[in-house]
Symmetry: C2
Subunit: 437 residues, 2 copies
């Protein structure tokens, strides 16, 4: 399916001669790039962009779409000062099949388009995605409201008093929209909403409920701030462990914001995290207290940086499956090297052979924690215990090592790691037996 993106307007509250909203960069991408890449995730590869204000800048910014891995064609709307219905109508000669209609300055969840594309519609119907339970970041005052009944739009407009949903600006259209817009423009109203109202009167304007998926219209500066908060909030995963939630994530997000301004790739960040661990392990290897402190700090730092690769990938919409795999494998090697460094340093100073056995058990436990969780996810296609807020993950293990190094208690730290990680693995082995019996 093709997508038509409206990027002609100037933005009502935009400074004269400033960049139009679609070009404003936010966390690594301009708005229009984010719209295109979000749509691409749901399988859309061909885009038609209606330009007007700042047309040249937008073309120069996106070119033919190669950089984003999509195909982009442009239609110029010299009458961009008119209502947005005129912009849509400019695409009349280019679209003869159902298409997706998007606004260039909106944020939205890619799952919306996944589900929207699965809707089957008749030739004379359009579908509007409607938000019934809008989230805190949305400025309702400025939004276009809809009143709906039995899955149909009954009325639509900014000034609606009696409404039960918000217009998200995401549509599944058939070419019938062009005839409808010609009618509404002829009768003196050049807004897209006016065309929709005609379809609504014919009972041909259907509703698609986005339920709890997010979207945001970035209208003004405060909406821009909200957009940033929304994107950042979504970086937190419900599988984040306690240390990740409380300590690592707030710091890693700050680092990611800086990294997004560079060309550093997520895989390079994974490698930097690994190298930081490696140096941490090297300091542990020597064994003396002062080196333990430096090593501990490096290990905790690597744990924080380990969050950035995923954050940058998700914000730039460039997650790859290889990237996830690469990160996971490097993490396992980092875990091994850190524990080896601890064992060696302690043995060097104390010549106590028991450290090898304890360290060996800690390594086995650490590995098995990752292995049982990952393998479980793979086989059962759902995450192990996603509700456990205090799960014993890598964030906790590395934090314990950090504390152990700062307090010069390597042997006790490894013993604790060995006991709780192996206990957790064996607990999973037994517990899941009954859950899946």
């Amino acid at each position: 399916m093709k997508a038509l993106i409206l990027a002609a307007g100037q933005g009502r509250r935009q400074k004269e001669n400033g960049d139009s909203k679609p070009l404003i960069p936010l966390l690594g991408l301009s708005f229009i790039e984010r719209v295109i890449l979000t749509a691409k995730k749901s399988g859309i590869k061909e885009f038609l962009i209606v330009t007007g204000y700042n047309a040249g800048k937008i073309r120069k910014h996106l070119r033919n779409g190669d950089k984003l891995g999509v195909e982009i064609d442009y239609i110029h709307n010299a009458e961009w000062r008119k209502g947005n219905g005129v912009s849509v109508l400019k695409a009349k000669d280019y679209l003869h099949e159902p298409f997706i209609l998007l606004m260039a300055d909106h944020l939205f969840d890619d799952k919306i388009l996944f589900e929207l594309q699965e809707q089957t519609i008749e030739d004379d119907v359009c579908v509007l995605c409607v938000d019934k339970n809008h989230h805190k970041y949305l400025d309702v005052k400025d939004a276009t409201k809809v009143f709906m009944e039995d899955g149909q739009i009954k009325d639509i407009g900014k000034q609606l008093n009696n409404y039960n949903g918000i217009d998200t600006g995401i549509f599944l259209c058939t070419p019938v929209i062009f005839d409808t817009l010609e009618q509404s423009i002829d009768s003196g109203n050049d807004s897209l909403a006016a065309g929709m109202r005609i379809l609504a009167n014919r009972h041909k304007m259907k509703v698609f409920d986005i339920s709890n998926k997010y979207w945001l219209d970035v209208d003004d500066d405060s909406a821009l701030k909200n957009a940033k908060s929304l994107l950042i909030e979504r970086l937190r995963k419900n599988t984040d462990g306690p240390i990740s939630r409380i300590l690592n994530r707030p710091i890693s997000i700050k680092i990611s914001e800086l990294l997004l301004k560079t060309k550093i790739t997520p895989n390079q960040i994974s490698l930097v995290s690994f190298i930081t661990s490696f140096f941490g392990a090297l300091f542990f290897y020597v064994g003396e207290y002062i080196f333990l402190i430096i090593g501990g700090i490096l290990v905790q730092l690597s744990s924080i940086i380990d969050g950035c690769d995923g954050e940058v990938a998700r914000l730039k919409l460039i997650q790859t499956r290889y990237g996830g795999w690469f990160d996971a494998v490097l993490d396992r090697y980092a875990d091994a090297i850190i524990i080896f460094g601890m064992i060696h340093g302690h043995w060097l100073l104390h010549n106590d052979i028991v450290i090898w056995t304890i360290g060996f058990a800690a390594l086995v436990g650490s590995f098995l924690n990752s292995y049982t969780a990952d393998k479980y996810d793979a086989i059962f296609k759902n995450r192990i215990e996603k509700t456990n807020k205090w799960r014993m993950g890598r964030d906790v293990r590395l934090f314990l090592i950090f504390l152990g190094a700062l307090s010069n208690q390597i042997l006790i730290t490894l013993a604790i790691l060995a006991i709780i990680s192996n206990f957790e693995s064996i607990r999973r082995l037994i517990m899941l037996k009954f859950r899946h019996a």
Copy 2:
């Protein structure tokens, strides 16, 4: 969808008063149980069985299906000496929707029914699964042949000279088959094929090509032998490593054949394999050569037994995802315990601290081999390098340990393990970067 199973006949070459073919046990299941469980794998839960010869025994054997996790109803055909068309017709009052028709003494690949159920057919059409390129185990002389053209059956019968496919006895039927059978029986031919021929003349008998999936009609003693060979051949996986292929699998299959006669579960077999490893490790732990030999033999034995859990589960059609996970996690613990035993035994005798470092590296490499492969499979949904006949898997690692123990070369063995397993993990990390870039 419901399945109708024909289990009324006596079997042409069956001894008088002997068990009918559906009841003959083969590798842990009777034929009719295997038919039901195979169909269950493709989602079929309700069965209608037409009994005749040995009706009481069949009912007693299967009861209401509870034991197999399905629902079974019975229809008795007192005229079971007549053709099999009569048996199908007995179900007329019970089936008013499309249904699957199966023979109680056939083996077949569950993927056939998966795909067959996805076919959409009109009310007046039946579909026959046809085998175009039958395998070596099929006795073509005795089979019902079909001649087909443009996806339609043109002719069907045992004596066909000009044929381009074999009737597999697997059908997707609509109730039209009952009217057709009434016609053919009225005209003096009470076989199912006669009914099919009437549909074929109306161009209402469609073909479904099973392509390379297996099936087998178990007609006589030699077909029974072939059935056994076929089931056993299918236990070999194309992911089996070289030691598994050449040494372990042939032995584990013999053991599994014995285990199938007991009530031992696959998870219990996984546990026995783990305990065998544990005792192997215990002998290694002591370090002296004579104990190494015993330990090495136990480790190799556990590697062989490790094949049996999957074999028994697959032959009894009771694979569970938990079982696969349980086995994998126990294998990782066994790997760790074995390597720990080797390290400790060597260190005890030689007091050479370097063994700990080498052993630690061997453990990391072993784990990472499993981790990279499993995590890769999980993320990319296809197996890592399935074409590599000489892949370095657990079968090879445990065999190297076996050889190392027999030759009293623990240090060298661990060094070899450390080098090749880590080399392989790092190779995957780099190689896959380019494959997925």
